[in-house]
């Protein structure tokens, strides 16, 4: 009897401290546990299931945590991105951030479903002129096709000088819109490349 008490005591302590093992003997069944734990009404440790006793949370399973920043508004809330098996399993506020102190608004809190959205585009799509549906395009081929069009239409819409023979050295055939959701490094390369191309109609949300 003393032996049994010791085992059961051990068991409940484990449950209480969230160290959980499935119990295989009949002593782990709820009714004996009700008797042995004193939880006669079956409200507490007596009725916990093996799953409950094995409760863990997915952050503990993460392989790594990346420090990031929320992609929505400009407050710049810190995010921690938890990764397991090369998949993002959770994104939550970075408690260390002096800007946000771990907090996120509903959009920031939805970041995990943003990056893991099942409707996210993962394939290159192409719609031919006058086409009625999408076709898949190899990404490599798509970039080649876009490069061809940029080179062609840059020339086609090139302006060397204005009507007073003053230098313009630009193309009006290519425009771009976007950047406020992109990284500084990306905006830098975009502006640099388009300027070298002579494209000036380069804009983003900051003016909208």
């Amino acid at each position: 009897m003393a032996e049994v008490r010791r085992v059961v005591g051990d068991l409940t302590n484990r449950a209480a401290h969230a160290v959980r093992h499935p119990v295989s003997t009949f002593l782990g069944w709820p009714v004996p546990r009700q008797a042995t734990t004193g939880d006669l009404l079956g409200r507490g440790p007596a009725v916990t299931s093996p799953t409950t006793r094995g409760t863990t949370h997915r952050l503990a399973d993460a392989d790594r945590v990346a420090r990031s920043v929320c992609p929505y508004c400009a407050v710049g809330c810190g995010q921690r991105v938890f990764v397991r098996d090369e998949k993002v399993i959770q994104i939550e506020g970075d408690l260390d951030s002096p800007i946000s102190r771990g907090r996120l608004c509903p959009k920031g809190a939805a970041s995990e479903s943003l990056v893991n959205s099942p409707t996210r585009l993962t394939k290159v799509l192409h719609r031919r002129p006058h086409g009625t549906d999408w076709e898949h395009l190899d990404p490599d081929e798509a970039i080649d096709m876009i490069a061809d069009r940029v080179v062609r239409d840059r020339r086609a819409h090139w302006q060397d000088v204005d009507d007073q023979q003053r230098p313009l050295r630009r193309t009006m055939g290519i425009a771009s819109l976007g950047g406020a959701t992109l990284d500084n490094e990306e905006n830098y390369l975009i502006k640099k490349l388009f300027t070298a191309l002579g494209a000036i109609q380069i804009e983003n949300q900051a003016r909208i």
Binding site: N13, A18, G38, T48, T55, T56, V88, I89, G102, P106
Partner: protein, 337 residues
């Protein structure tokens, strides 16, 4: 008889009603401090981050194809199996604001009102702010994690249990979907999820939602077991939702109430902080700016077990009488037969 009651109470504690430590009552050995929320609705900005963070963390299904409900900015409606946090939006005119302040003032003048709990009146209340043409109340509602939880005591399978933190959690793997808990909750918090569903976890569809089981807030049992904050409290931008030891939450609530009363804002009152109420006080404590009804909360929630002893006594008495009658009747009949 009185002696017997006292002995029962000594052994059992207040298992059915009244102030008690629910964790100890559930016989958790050496439990940590009871945990709970304090939701200060006076600084809630109605952003619903709590709703989203809860669903993200707990993989609670969304409601597809919803319409706007025409109830201010609330398109969630009420708590349920798939809504563990719900932000209510209440628009009020000046008259309603005045009524709220007056009803709060009456509570203050009663000293420590039994029903909702309030700090003593500030000794020198300031000139209260005037009423605006409109005010917009927002409040994030959640499972109360009652001291005496109707859902828990109604559950015939042991699917609902009292955790070592004093919270009340459904074990979906045990639940048989009987739904007794749904009727037993005085707050209408717990619901029965009708259909199986598919969860998207890390971008992969996973058969995650068991249908036919009861579901509600777990106070992030998995997170708090490891010292983390619940998802809603951690994300709350303005700390309208705070999480911590229940005693600290009640103290915080009382401090905040006193501060608002000192500003003359007697419309402020606490909800769930009174251990003598019908559910023995709640684990989730609220500071409200109007009567609970304004927020869709029951003014005087009572757990069904509060009447259990009386009902048992009544039932026992009735049974004894019936038995006596039966004996008498059968005796007479036997004599005749």
């Amino acid at each position: 008889m009185t002696d017997l009651r006292a002995r029962v109470r000594r052994v059992w504690g207040n298992q059915l009603s009244g102030p008690t430590d629910p964790t100890a009552d559930a016989r958790w050995p050496d439990p940590p401090a009871r945990k709970g929320f304090f939701t200060d609705t006076s600084i809630c900005i109605g952003c619903k981050a709590c709703e989203v963070a809860c669903k993200e963390w707990n993989h609670v299904p969304s409601r597809p194809g919803g319409d706007t409900q025409g109830t201010s900015y609330d398109n969630t409606g009420h708590l349920g199996a798939d809504t563990w946090r719900h932000v209510a939006f209440i628009e009020q005119d000046a008259a309603a604001q005045q009524r709220a302040r007056e009803s709060g003032a009456r509570l203050v003048s009663l000293g420590m009102p039994a029903r909702v709990g309030a700090a003593p009146a500030a000794s020198d209340p300031a000139e209260p702010p005037g009423f605006e043409a409109v005010r917009w109340l927002m409040s994030s509602d959640v499972c109360k994690h009652c001291t005496h939880a109707g859902c828990l005591d109604a559950c015939p399978t042991g699917a609902l249990f009292r955790t070592e933190f004093g919270t009340v959690v459904v074990q979906a793997d045990v639940c048989n979907g009987c739904g007794y808990c749904v009727a037993a909750c005085p707050f209408g918090v717990i619901g029965r999820r009708e259909k199986d569903g598919v969860a998207v976890i890390a971008g992969e569809p996973v058969t995650g939602y068991r249908g036919g089981v009861a579901q509600k807030c777990t106070l992030c049992y998995d997170r708090i077991s490891d010292g983390l904050q619940p998802a809603c409290a951690q994300t709350c931008p303005t700390t309208s939702i705070t999480f911590g030891d229940h005693a600290d939450m009640v103290a915080l609530a009382r401090d905040r109430l006193a501060a608002l009363h000192a500003e003359g804002r007697t419309e402020a009152r606490l909800y769930g902080a009174n251990p003598d109420d019908g559910v023995g006080g709640t684990g989730s404590v609220f500071l409200l700016l109007d009567e609970p009804e304004a927020y869709g909360l029951p003014p005087d929630p009572v757990v069904p077990t509060a009447r259990l002893a009386r009902m048992f006594t009544a039932a026992g008495t009735a049974g004894t009488v019936m038995m006596g009658l039966a004996v008498a009747v059968f005796g007479i009949m036997g004599r005749h037969g």
